[in-house]
Subunit: 456 residues, 2 copies
């Protein structure tokens, strides 16, 4: 008898699951239907800022279009279909065709819930006026591009929120020639690193010509003729022809809640390591709608990133296909580029380490990305957080120029394996003058942490 | 009572030991004498090719000159002093002042043997004719620069040996405008990676205009008027006004042998993890004259690299100073740049894994250094070697363009911690479009290795 897999959500997590299941079970054994609300499948949402800036065109962001899924993998992709209900008892999904308005019902043996995340839209941003955009989906990006290209062309942008998306979108807007204000509620943009590191990011943004405003509370919008004209803040009104929301996302779990899927303390869906929804037979979840475990704290966390979504979808698909795979958790690694500044982190920030109950020391070192005597040697700042007593690495942050950010991976593996800074200081890392001083910056930082811990 | 430390060798290992000992014990407690045969202390020998090419000038390669050691650390550095004898019973060192010819004798409480390595000079290269150079010390580099700058200026260079030094020197000579032939005995240059990866290096060298000749046996030199004029090989004579030896180095242990220090199977000095010479109280050794342990095979290896020399010297110095430190061994990590090609390795090569008795699989993947859709995405090749059965990573090699080589550190930490490719495929590495595809190249390689192992 043929089984049937239904996938809710046609992006990274959902389509990875579908593809992996198909790889192990052919169409005679497993029928696969994927419902996707938008117009696209399997694309790089992280690439949207580079499309907005003009570096790439949007079709390049699509890894696999619906036709490819249909023809090469015999996956019945149904675009513009919004799933409106899940009946766990009947193992049935109800979806609405957004074009025709028709309702369809399909039963499943296995269900993958991969509905992703939705942008957090603050109350002040809920407006009928044009010019306010999230950048969560390719459809969002398309709407924004259309607005930017259409007369009267916007010349003044306000980006709200200084996280990864906000910072990347601010840069994209500057590259398109707009005047850009970045409005951040906190002390520094890039609150994904500690404020001492975030200051370096702020300097880079200002250096690009972005008007960076911090400790900004937004009160509302001003509009005229159905278009946004400004952002009202506690520091006055900032003129704007376009407003981009970088105010974060939340898991898209409305439907999951209604169906009775278990929601964890982070507000996202709870799964086991194989991506099975806890306690619900035949139902799997993956991607920006699930919570996972932070390996450093062993606590549940919500980290909506494409890299995790891809892995989780793959794990679900392998398991549905009859294989065995697990998603082992995350350690909070992230990198971004701001102009020519590279910013990276892994593990816990200082406040996160404090909340988790760790006692720790921090050290910050300045080094270079090549031997110091190389003419183009560029500065790199590394900060480490290590537990008192054990010396275990708890977190690391890097801000630097070229060839800096991906060094976080070295620290990420060390953190993943619970290494102590003592052992790290003796690691056999690659050395040659074009790549580092004879003491690699990671080793210098570990050495300093060792000294700090011994001095206690 | 004041103790006395004598250091033999004034480069990385010796002076790191001296500096660390001084940091913990001041001059009233510990007198320090360092004998150095040459004219320099504490310099980056790895930087010599970049001095030859003209990228940097040699004073920039010196981290700390003798005056600084004397004034800031009260270390009695004696340049141009060659140690000619060690009397372990009397705890006495005999040295000859190469300028005056005078002999001096000094007793010690602690002795650090850090005499480094000497270039392997093949019999055919032992000549009175000018124009044949090793590039092991700053003095060697100075002699070579002098030869290159003096009329009649050499225009044709032959570099013998295609290891790191050979390849880097060939590039340096090309950058100075010479015609360059690289003569390598083996199948490919860069035998520090497997031949399939070495082929990529060969292509890069040829692309730079270097005449790469492999399977070359050298028979002798031709000379005229006291100068070298060519290199005689099994494939004919290659004209040359200058010959650079990249034929490797061996530990400088003549003196150690005469004194009775223990020599291991690699031909280098045996120490424990604290860098104490085995069985000889008060005597320490560090740097290019000692052997260490390969953490993957647990076998002794000889890996003369500045990065190890610095660490070992530091460890010896901390211990002499009354602290506690250990050098944990190596895993064979190395990186280099050939033109714009980046080459890196860690762990074992295929033949090394075979000799060590491992059964293994290998996988090679092509990926890019950024998201594939970025306009400047550049190709990167990663090869992994993993043990059958356990899935443990045994070795990794990377060849690629920009932002490739230092990714070896990620693999080096994984290898150091004995990770399996299964666990590696789930690592939380940094992802953003400017730095990698959503599946990082390291993850793609690990995934492929997992598939390969499961298919067995």
């Amino acid at each position: 008898m043929t089984g049937r897999l239904i996938v809710i959500g046609g992006d990274a997590a959902g389509m990875s699951a579908a593809s992996q299941a198909r790889r192990r079970r052919d169409h005679d054994d497993l029928e696969i239907i994927a419902f996707e609300r938008g117009h696209f499948t399997s694309y790089s949402a992280c690439g949207i800022p580079y499309w907005i800036s003009g570096l790439v065109d949007y079709p390049e962001l699509i890894t696999r279009d619906p036709e490819t899924h249909r023809k090469e993998h015999q996956i019945d992709v149904r675009l513009r279909h919004e799933v409106t209900g899940i009946d766990l008892d009947r193992r049935e999904v109800v979806a609405r065709d957004l074009e025709s308005g028709r309702e369809v019902r399909e039963t499943y043996d296995d269900l993958v819930y991969a509905a992703g995340a939705v942008p957090t839209v603050p109350p002040w941003a809920r407006t009928d006026a044009g010019g306010v955009f999230g950048v969560q989906t390719l459809d969002d990006g398309k709407a924004l591009r259309h607005w930017l290209d259409r007369d009267p062309k916007p010349t003044r942008a306000v980006v709200v929120g200084g996280g990864y998306i906000g910072v990347e979108m601010a840069e994209a807007m500057i590259e398109r020639g707009l005047e850009v204000t970045l409005a951040e509620r906190g002390e520094q943009p890039m609150s994904t690193v500690d404020p001492d590191m975030g200051r370096l990011v702020r300097d880079a943004l200002v250096g690009m010509g972005i008007d960076v405003r911090t400790r900004v509370e937004i009160i509302g919008l001003t509009t005229a003729g159905g278009r946004v004209t400004g952002v009202r803040t506690n520091g006055g009104t900032i003129p704007a022809d376009v407003v981009v929301l970088g105010t974060g996302v939340r898991p898209n779990v409305q439907l999951a809640k209604e169906a009775g899927l278990p929601i964890g303390p982070t507000g996202a869906i709870r799964t086991d390591l194989r991506m099975r929804v806890i306690g619900i037979p035949g139902v799997w979840a993956a991607g920006d709608c699930v919570e996972t475990v932070h390996k450093t704290t062993n606590q549940p966390v919500y980290v909506p990133l494409g890299t995790h979504a891809n892995k989780q979808g793959r794990v679900a698909g392998i398991n549905i296909g009859g294989g065995y795979a697990t998603f082992l958790g995350v350690i909070g690694t992230a990198v971004t580029r701001v102009c020519d500044l590279e910013v990276a982190r892994t593990g816990l920030l200082e406040p996160e380490a404090r909340v988790a109950g760790f006692e720790f020391i921090t050290v910050t070192v300045e080094s270079t990305n090549t031997a110091g005597y190389f003419p183009d040697a560029a500065r790199m700042t590394i900060k480490l957080i290590a537990e008192k007593g054990t010396g275990r690495l708890l977190g690391a942050q890097i801000v630097g120029r070229s060839q800096s950010a991906k060094r976080i991976d070295t620290l990420a593996v060390a953190l993943w394996k619970n290494m102590t800074v003592d052992e790290m200081s003796m690691l056999d890392l690659g050395y040659a003058p074009p790549y580092s001083p004879v003491w690699d910056p990671v080793l210098v930082a570990a050495r300093k942490a060792v000294d700090e811990l011994h001095a206690l």
